[in-house]
């Protein structure tokens, strides 16, 4: 059981590394830029895959942490210049923010759809607040927030400590892929650790976990915070990638999009949502170049068809196709085991 998961992990890591190494060799600069964006969105999807798929926390406002990080990077890099501190700050701020919200909500035993709506509200509040900072009076030191227009044209990443060595598209792509693979592996390790199994247990049955002496409120807060940190990382990378931030990062579309990615990729897996994000982002990019019909219409239609054909999401479906036979067998074994238990119980 655990071996399978490991080989799966290795497979995913292998593929990702191959992509990271090969892409810049075989494709031109533009596609490297596109793929960087895909990597960033995959990382973003990964954060929700963890929070929702493993923590069992439906967070409808994951984009709040993504956008917050992007804004923190933009504002602080304009003020500081050298990009290392701003980058770290950009990950730190949403993490702390999430820890506070999480503690507030989970210790109040808010959960399920109610938590989802609260997080959505948080995003929308950020949207309306940041949108209304058009005037010159809204600025953080040197950085003017600039309302709907957002901030653009700020510095991308540079080599730590050496503010003249600004990273080009290819280097940035390596950075994105490194963080993506890093986070994926880190989460896999976390899941196989003692804590990781407790996390899954809490998702499976919070009441039982409580009765066994686990503080689900703390567990949930912690899981949520980790997720926010990863989303923050993605957001910071996004700001670096596009060198622009604006309130659309906090709008309903963005909030829903990441959820769609996760479901399309497959809830309850880490690799699936990454695939989902890449696939859907790429689809949108490709559809934007055709003039046959309204893009939104086609996109929506494809989504519907997809769910009808691939209910469990891409990744689990693939897994099932691979192990259909063995699965049928295991169910048979399961029955035998059931009998064994009752025998065993009477045996002694």
């Amino acid at each position: 059981m655990r071996d399978v998961c490991n080989s799966g992990t290795l497979f995913v890591v292998g593929v990702a590394t191959a992509i990271a190494v090969l892409i810049p060799q075989i494709v031109n600069l533009y596609l490297v830029i596109v793929y960087s964006n895909l990597a960033i969105m995959a990382l973003f999807a990964l954060s929700l895959a963890w929070v929702w798929g493993y923590g069992g926390i439906l967070c409808f406002g994951q984009s709040a942490f993504f956008g917050l990080a992007a804004y923190v990077y933009a504002v602080s890099v304009i003020n500081i210049g050298e990009s290392t501190a701003p980058f770290l700050l950009a990950v730190l701020v949403p993490t702390v923010f999430a820890a506070v919200i999480g503690a507030l909500m989970f210790y109040g035993r808010v959960s399920d759809i109610y938590f989802a709506i609260i997080t959505l509200c948080v995003t929308l509040i950020l949207y309306s607040l940041i949108s209304s900072t058009a005037g010159p009076q809204f600025h953080i030191f040197a950085a003017r927030l600039n309302g709907q227009n957002g901030i653009s044209g700020f510095r991308p990443l540079n080599l730590p400590g050496r503010s003249d060595d600004v990273l080009g598209p290819v280097e940035s792509f390596y950075v994105c892929m490194t963080f993506l693979i890093g986070c994926y592996v880190a989460l896999k390790f976390l899941l196989s650790s003692r804590f990781g199994r407790v996390v899954v247990a809490v998702r499976e049955n919070p009441v039982r976990a409580e009765l066994l002496g686990y503080d689900t409120r703390w567990t949930r807060t912690f899981v949520f915070t980790i997720g926010a940190a990863i989303a923050g990382l993605a957001g910071a990378l996004f700001a670096v990638w596009g060198t622009y931030v604006n309130p659309s990062l906090f709008d309903l579309r963005m909030a829903a999009l990441v959820i769609i990615w996760v479901v399309v990729g497959g809830l309850g897996t880490l690799a699936g949502p990454m695939v989902g994000a890449v696939a859907l982002q790429y689809l949108g990019n490709v559809l934007g170049k055709q003039q046959l019909a309204n893009t939104g219409m086609i996109y929506g239609f494809l989504l519907i068809v997809f769910v009808m054909l691939v209910p469990q999401g891409v990744f689990p479906t693939m897994q099932r196709l691979i192990s259909r036979w063995s699965l049928r067998r295991s169910q048979y074994e399961m029955k035998l085991l059931g009998d064994d238990i009752s025998k065993g119980m009477q045996g002694r």
């Binding site: 059981m1 650790s193 003692r194 199994r197 407790v198 899954v200 247990a201 499976e204 049955n205 009441v207 039982r208 976990a209 409580e210 009765l211 066994l212 002496g213 686990y214 503080d215 689900t216 169910q331 399961m334 085991l337 059931g338 064994d340 238990i341 009752s342 065993g344 119980m345 009477q346 045996g347 002694r348």
Partner: protein, 243 residues
């Protein structure tokens, strides 16, 4: 009846759900190493009483003392950490996980390392004859088997106090016999409170019985006397109503 401080004690414990008075000023106590049965017709307040003890429900008034410590307002996880293990009425396990993982989770809470937890859970798996099923996903097991896994999760936690809500529900005769043996083993290390309907089973395991009726204690005492008491029979037959 042994002397000394009670392990668990409730003082005028009361719980209302909305307008309904589920349990009404219950004064209850068990001694260390005792196996106490709590019986009563449906709606007598047995489950509510348990909920208040485990922290799943907050008592409206009154106190719950465990080894002299007030746990009335404590959270379920903190109560559990004091050494109170619970089996709820319906099998309450991690359906998505394997038998081994279920038991490991239970052991892990108070083990210093994952390895130690693994050892503890393996022992329990052996002891309860679950080894053949160790990798089965609990959700796919039969009702009785899942109850059994839940009991294993209690055993591995080696608790001071065990609360069992209808441990034999949906079990075959042989399985019930098995549970009885397990309880007798547990009794040597822990205090046990069992909610049960099966009178034969009660006679076999318990020395003392508490009868709940309409949310308060109707009668309490040795099995024989209590079960032969007319009021108890009336209550079960629904003739009697305490005023």
């Amino acid at each position: 009846m042994t002397v000394g401080a009670p392990l668990l004690e409730t003082q005028a414990l009361t719980k209302r759900f909305g307008g309904v008075l589920a349990i009404d000023r219950i004064d209850f106590s068990v001694e260390p190493r005792e196996l106490r049965c709590v019986i009563g017709p449906n709606g007598a307040g047995k489950s509510s009483f348990f909920k208040c003890l485990t922290g799943l429900a907050r008592a409206t008034s009154g106190r719950v003392l465990f080894m002299g410590q007030d746990i009335t307002r404590a959270d379920p996880c903190h109560i559990a950490r004091l050494g109170i293990a619970t089996k709820t009425q319906v099998p309450n396990v991690f359906d998505g996980l394997s038998v081994r993982e279920n038991i490991w989770i239970a052991a892990n809470r108070h083990s210093i390392s994952g390895v130690q937890a693994m050892k503890a859970s393996e022992n329990t798996i052996q002891r309860l004859g679950l080894s053949t099923a160790a990798n089965a996903v609990v959700g796919q097991l039969a009702h009785g088997a899942r109850q059994w896994v839940e009991l294993a999760m209690i055993v591995v936690a080696n608790p001071k106090l065990v609360l069992l809500d209808e441990p034999t529900a949906g079990m075959s005769g042989a399985e019930i016999f098995r549970v009885e043996k397990l309880l007798n083993e547990l009794k040597s290390t822990a205090t046990i409170i069992v909610v049960e309907h099966d009178v034969k089973f009660i006679r076999r395991i318990a020395s003392h019985v508490t009868v709940l009726h309409n949310g308060s204690i109707l009668i309490e005492g040795p099995v024989a006397t209590v079960l032969s008491d007319t009021r108890v029979r009336d209550v079960y037959l629904g003739r009697h109503s305490v005023t």
